[in-house]
C-alpha cells in the first residue's frame, strides 16, 4: 500500500526525532534529507506539534524534538492524523459486485490497521537498527539512529 506524501513525511520526521531525542533537529535538515520543501514539511510538523508528538524549540540551536512516548506511540497514531484509514462503512455499497469488492478491500484494510496499530516507534527504531546492521559494509550510516 502507499501512504500519502504528508503521512510519509510525518513518519520520517517522527522517526528522525525519536531516533535522536536529545537533539533539536532543524526542519530544514529533515526537508533536505527527504527532498521536500521546508514550507511543505513545516505544515506536517505543525500538525505533529499540535498532537503533542513533537515540540518546537525556538532560538539558536532550535528545531524540533520528539515529545511522545516511543514505547506507546504507534505508526497508526501518526498515520491517522494525516489520512483516513478507518473501517469502511458496511452500507455504502449497493450492488453485490460492490459489496464483494468491498469485502476484499476491507480484509486488506483490517490487516493494515492491525499492522500499523501494533508497531510502536520504539519497535520501528529497533527495526531501523537491524536494517542498518544488515546492510552491506560501507553502505553508510543508518538514516535514523536508534536509541
Amino acid at each position: 500500500m502507499r501512504l500519502q506524501k504528508n503521512t510519509s513525511l510525518a513518519l520520517y520526521s517522527v522517526l528522525e526525532f525519536a531516533g535522536d531525542p536529545q537533539r533539536h533537529i532543524p526542519a530544514a535538515e529533515i526537508a533536505a534529507k527527504y527532498g521536500v520543501s521546508p514550507h511543505h514539511l513545516a505544515k506536517v510538523l505543525a500538525d505533529l506539534a499540535r498532537a503533542g508528538i513533537v515540540e518546537s524549540v525556538r532560538g539558536v540551536g532550535g528545531g524540533y524534538r520528539f515529545a511522545g512516548n516511543a514505547r506507546r506511540l504507534t505508526l497508526m497514531d501518526v498515520i491517522q492524523r494525516f489520512e483516513d484509514i478507518a473501517p469502511r462503512s458496511a452500507g455504502a455499497s449497493s450492488t453485490p459486485v460492490e459489496r464483494a469488492l468491498d469485502t476484499v478491500l476491507a480484509e486488506i484494510d483490517d490487516n493494515a490497521r492491525a499492522t500499523f496499530g501494533s508497531i510502536t516507534i520504539a519497535t520501528m527504531l529497533r527495526l531501523i537498527e537491524r536494517q542498518a546492521a544488515s546492510a552491506t559494509s560501507g553502505a553508510g550510516p543508518p538514516r535514523v539512529r536508534a536509541r
Binding site: R71, R72, T74, D110, N111, A114, T115, G117, S118, I119, T120, A122, T123, R126, L127, R130
Partner: protein, 192 residues
C-alpha cells in the same frame, strides 16, 4: 490431538527468526503497576520447566485475563506439554523469588502447513502486577532457546489482530508477518 488451543485470543501467529539474545525489550503492555526494576528482577527471576504444583498460579494468571478457571483444561495442557517426556514440547514458567508470575508454552512442529519444522508459541502470559519488567521477553527468549536446541530457526505464533497488547509485544521482539495467511469460513448447516 488438538493443534491450536490455548488463549488464542492472546496469541499471535506471526513468524520470526529464532531470536538471538538481545537487549531487554518491553514485555506486554498492560494494566500492570509496581513495575519491578530490571536489575533486581534479573537477580530473582528464573525461567524453568513447569512443575505440577505450578498449575494453580498458572490457572490463576490465565483466569485473570479470560475470566474462566479452566482447571481440567490446564491439567490436560500440563500432561501434554509439561511432563518433560517430549523434548520438542515446552511449558516454562517465570519464577520470581519462588512465585510463578508468568508462563510460555509451545512446541516444534514438523511440516505443518507445508512449512519446514519450526517452533510454535501457543500461549504466553505475565501476571499483571509485574508486567513491563522484561519477564515476557525472558520467557520468549527461553522458549526460543529450546527451539534452537531442537534444531529449528523459526518461531511462529498466532493471535487475533485486534489484540493490540500482545501483538505489540511480539512486534517489539522483532516478529514480522510470515508467509502464512490465516483463513476461515462458516460451515453451512447440513441441508435436510
Amino acid at each position: 490431538m488438538k493443534l491450536i488451543w490455548v488463549n488464542l485470543s492472546r496469541i499471535a501467529m506471526a513468524q520470526i527468526e529464532a531470536p538471538a539474545r538481545r537487549r531487554a525489550a518491553p514485555s506486554p503492555r498492560g494494566a500492570g503497576t509496581g513495575r519491578p526494576r530490571v536489575g533486581r528482577l534479573d537477580e530473582a527471576l528464573a525461567i524453568r520447566p513447569v512443575r505440577r504444583r505450578d498449575l494453580d498460579p498458572v490457572i490463576a494468571i490465565d483466569a485473570v485475563v479470560t475470566g474462566l478457571e479452566k482447571r481440567a483444561y490446564w491439567l490436560s495442557v500440563y500432561r501434554r506439554y509439561g511432563t518433560g517426556t517430549h523434548p520438542e514440547r515446552a511449558f516454562l514458567v517465570a519464577d520470581l523469588g519462588g512465585r510463578v508470575v508468568g508462563f510460555v508454552i509451545g512446541e516444534v512442529r514438523d511440516w505443518e502447513f507445508g512449512s519446514p519444522p519450526c517452533g510454535w508459541v501457543f500461549a504466553i502470559d505475565v501476571q499483571q502486577g509485574v508486567r513491563l519488567g522484561g519477564i515476557g521477553t525472558r520467557l520468549l527468549e527461553a522458549i526460543a532457546a529450546r527451539f534452537r536446541a531442537a534444531g529449528v530457526t523459526k518461531l511462529r505464533t498466532m493471535l487475533m489482530r485486534d489484540n493490540t497488547l500482545i501483538l505489540s509485544f511480539f512486534r517489539s521482539q522483532g516478529m514480522m508477518a510470515g508467509p502464512l495467511i490465516s483463513l476461515e469460513m462458516d460451515i453451512e448447516p447440513a441441508r435436510p
